[in-house]
């Protein structure tokens, strides 16, 4: 019977699942918009990531990243504990008949949503639809989830079938697959296999805190199992592998003491129990140790020392009960929430313990943070506070937007008259007329090379013509022939030059015309754009005004709702915390009764002439 209970403890802490972020597939090139969302997401800025992702979806700019984006958004909703939204999103995605990689991941995430909601049957149905296109890590996570759910359903065979270690290599989920497999093996009565697995996990080299925590958990589970099986020395050796700063350290110290006590070595048991009894009285294991120490002393025959230790335990328990009464007052006054502070600037979806911390005054409530229900309620409370702060900031922004729009309307009114003046300006039409005249002139020039002569050449031709007229008057003069010959030579040279340059000049003229056409077209495009903007702007202003107005009204409507919800959430947390303290006090009172009963027994023995007492 006892061993079953010990195993029960081991299993209660055994079902191990880290809470990963809504990871996307391995590094791959993405579009700018989705890449920017990932930039926020990878920094743990989930609120911003959701906002940017939803904005990109609204603008329909995700392109090929749309499927991945939908998966990421669903994962982010899940991290925000918006299970309904996440479920609907994955259902919508699956209804679109996505490609196999997206489809498998959507089924996986749908299974995960349902798993988180505690809908095991539905979650298993979704996971059963996952094909073989799942990335390795998610495939391992799927096996862990399925294994845990099968264990919850007491289906140990099913769990063992799901929790098969990955042959493809070690991934982040591999230790969790093995750990939960060990649990399934224990429950199936295959202790030897389970021990081998837990021993491997418990002695594996570790690098980071997560691995250390899992190693502690494996050693603790194995130690408890061995203790339950009556293999006390082995149990002690394994329990001693649990780090002193581990989450299970108090229970491991207590159990290590019991492993000696069960072997009749109470003097050895005193070593871990005394160490545990010196620790702050925040966990039942410490209170147990407070009583276990005098119990061992008494059994060793040291009645005097036992009496003294029972008195010390009585004092410590009484003091702790008084202190907890003060804590109850603090909870009733709502002050305890000030002891919890958020480590990050944004709300994340990592395990709350990584994002929340307690100050010295709040350390008593540390076990509360380990409770899933409380942690989620607290996270919701912090979400509400964060969202309220955001809305308050937005309220100011909306006022600024309103002022900005009013300024723009005024600027538009000023620009409007200028634009109209530009439109009315005859210069554009004059330019077009000028261009047409040029074109006509160019057409008229046809193939006449002289028409393409430069101004200088035209002037020179004119001079030569004038010279010819002057020479006519000298006809019959002795020099006439010589001079006319020279004039003709010069005229010939000039005509030859214009003909030589004709092709290039005609090409340049046409090119020039094309340039003019381009410039005119650009002016026309700009003019059209200005006209379009001119027509559209008042409608845009009206649209902006409506959107600003709607946003302002939305903020005004939501802020009081957020405030009221935050208030209710705070009251809810207070009730949870008060209940926790009440339970703790009840447990401490039970310990106190035991201490007083033991004291009475010792006094009774002394009064009835018990021998060998010491002071």
């Amino acid at each position: 019977m006892r061993s079953c209970r010990w195993i029960g403890v081991a299993l209660a802490v055994a079902l191990a699942l880290p809470v990963p972020a809504a990871e996307t597939s391995a590094r791959a090139p993405h579009g700018l918009d989705y890449g920017e969302v990932l930039y926020q997401f990878y920094q743990g800025r989930y609120f911003t990531a959701i906002t940017h992702l939803r904005a990109a979806q609204a603008k329909q700019v995700l392109g090929e990243d749309a499927g991945q984006g939908a998966l990421l958004l669903g994962g982010l909703y899940l991290g925000y504990r918006m299970h309904g939204e996440a479920e609907r999103l994955f259902q919508r995605l699956l209804a679109q008949d996505p490609p196999p990689d997206i489809r498998d991941r959507a089924w996986f995430w749908l299974g995960k949503v349902r798993y988180r909601r505690g809908l095991d049957r539905e979650a298993l149905a979704a996971l059963a639809r996952v094909g073989d296109a799942l990335p390795q890590d998610e495939a391992a996570e799927r096996r862990v989830m399925e294994g845990v759910m099968r264990l919850r359903q007491q289906d140990n065979g099913g769990a063992l079938a799901a929790l098969i270690p990955d042959e493809a290599g070690e991934g982040a989920w591999s230790p969790y697959v093995r750990f939960n497999r060990a649990v399934a093996l224990l429950r199936s009565g295959r202790g030897a296999e389970a021990e081998a697995l837990l021993d491997t996990l418990g002695s594996a080299p570790v690098v980071n805190e997560e691995q250390k925590a899992l190693r502690d958990r494996a050693n603790f589970a194995l130690g408890m199992h061995l203790l339950g099986a009556g293999r006390n020395p082995e149990a002690k050796a394994v329990l001693q592998r649990v780090r002193l700063e581990a989450l299970q350290s108090n229970q491991a110290l207590l159990a290590a003491g019991w492993s000696d006590a069960k072997e009749g070595r109470l003097d050895m048991a005193l070593v871990p129990w005394k160490r545990l009894a010196r620790r702050p009285l925040r966990e039942p294991a410490v209170a147990d140790a407070l009583l276990a120490v005098p119990y061992a002393l008494s059994r060793l025959g040291g009645q005097g020392a036992a009496l003294s230790q029972y008195r010390a335990a009585e004092g410590a328990l009484t003091q702790e009960l008084d202190r907890l009464r003060g804590l109850e007052d603090s909870i009733a006054g709502g002050r305890f929430l000030k002891s919890v502070y958020v480590v990050t600037e944004e709300i994340g979806q990592q395990p709350a313990s990584e994002w929340l911390a307690l100050d010295e005054a709040g350390r008593d409530l540390a076990p509360l943070l380990a409770d899933n229900g409380f942690r989620e309620a607290l996270q919701d409370y912090l979400d509400l506070a964060f969202l309220k702060r955001r809305l308050e900031q937005h309220r100011q922004s909306v006022q600024t937007f309103g002022a900005m729009l009013a300024a723009r309307r005024m600027a538009y009114a000023r620009q409007h008259s200028r634009v109209q003046a530009v439109e009315a300006d005859a210069r554009q039409r004059a330019l077009r007329d000028w261009r047409d005249a040029l074109q006509r002139r160019l057409d008229a020039m046809g193939d006449d090379a002289l028409a393409f002569a430069t101004d200088e050449e035209q002037a020179q031709l004119g001079q030569l013509n004038a010279l010819r007229e002057r020479l006519k008057r000298l006809e019959g003069h002795a020099q006439y022939g010589t001079l006319e010959a020279r004039r003709r030579l010069l005229e010939g040279v000039l005509i030859w030059r214009t003909h030589s340059a004709y092709s290039a000049r005609k090409w340049a003229a046409r090119k020039g015309m094309r340039g003019i056409d381009r410039a005119l077209r650009m002016a026309q495009t700009r003019s059209s754009a200005i006209r379009r903007i001119e027509r559209q702007t008042p409608a845009d202003f009206d649209d902006f005004e409506q959107r600003i107005d709607a946003a302002g009204k939305g903020i005004a409507r939501l802020l009081p709702k957020l405030e009221a919800a935050q208030k209710r959430q705070r009251a809810h947390l207070q009730r949870l915390a008060a209940h926790f303290v009440k339970q703790r006090r009840a447990r401490l009172r039970a310990h106190l009764v035991q201490a007083r009963f033991a004291l009475a027994q010792i006094y009774d023995q002394a009064a009835t002439g018990g021998a060998g007492e010491e002071e």
Partner: protein, 170 residues
């Protein structure tokens, strides 16, 4: 005595079940509120962008990073038409996000249509941990619609040096 210790050790703290109904109703209310605030936040984000950076003048510069084996980015300085518009110092978290495939929007602003000069200086540690500063300049034609430029730092396997490229997106 032993058994009592065991029973106490096994005591399970049944907090979740005690306030189950209350928790459920609170959760439903909080979820609905979150949905409303997220919707509003998206609308405001779109409104802000449309109002402050209209499509016809919108100009954005993005930065992306390859594996980063040959270059450890410390900061980036960005100039548009000779004027410094952004100077960003990177945190570990930001670098990690870039290395995992995130793309940073380094600058979002308004520019008139026409030709503009984009200059970026990448400062950090180059191969063998040496101080490294490199610049990249590009003339960009901005049309009537929005324009996006991506600065990309890549690992060049052929010469074991970082490479810096500029890509235009419409």
């Amino acid at each position: 005595m032993k058994y009592r210790f065991l029973v106490l050790l096994l005591a399970i703290w049944p907090l979740a079940g005690v306030f189950a109904d209350e928790t459920k109703s609170m959760e439903a209310e909080v979820r609905a509120l979150k949905k409303e605030v997220l919707d509003l936040n998206r609308d405001l984000f779109l409104l802000e962008e449309a109002l402050l950076f209209p499509g016809n003048t919108q100009f954005a510069v993005f930065l992306s990073l390859d594996v980063g084996a040959f270059f450890q980015l410390d900061s980036v300085e960005l100039k548009v038409d000779g004027k410094e518009v952004s100077h960003h110092l990177y945190t570990e978290r930001e670098l990690e996000a870039l290395k995992r495939g995130g793309v940073q929007r380094l600058w979002l602003g308004n520019l008139k249509s026409g030709s503009h000069e984009i200059t970026a200086f990448f400062i950090g540690k180059g191969p063998k941990g040496r101080d490294y500063k490199r610049g990249a300049t590009r003339k960009v034609d901005k049309g009537l619609g929005p324009k996006y430029v991506e600065l990309k730092i890549v690992d060049q396997e052929n010469n074991y040096q970082p490479g810096f490229s500029v890509r235009e997106w419409e």
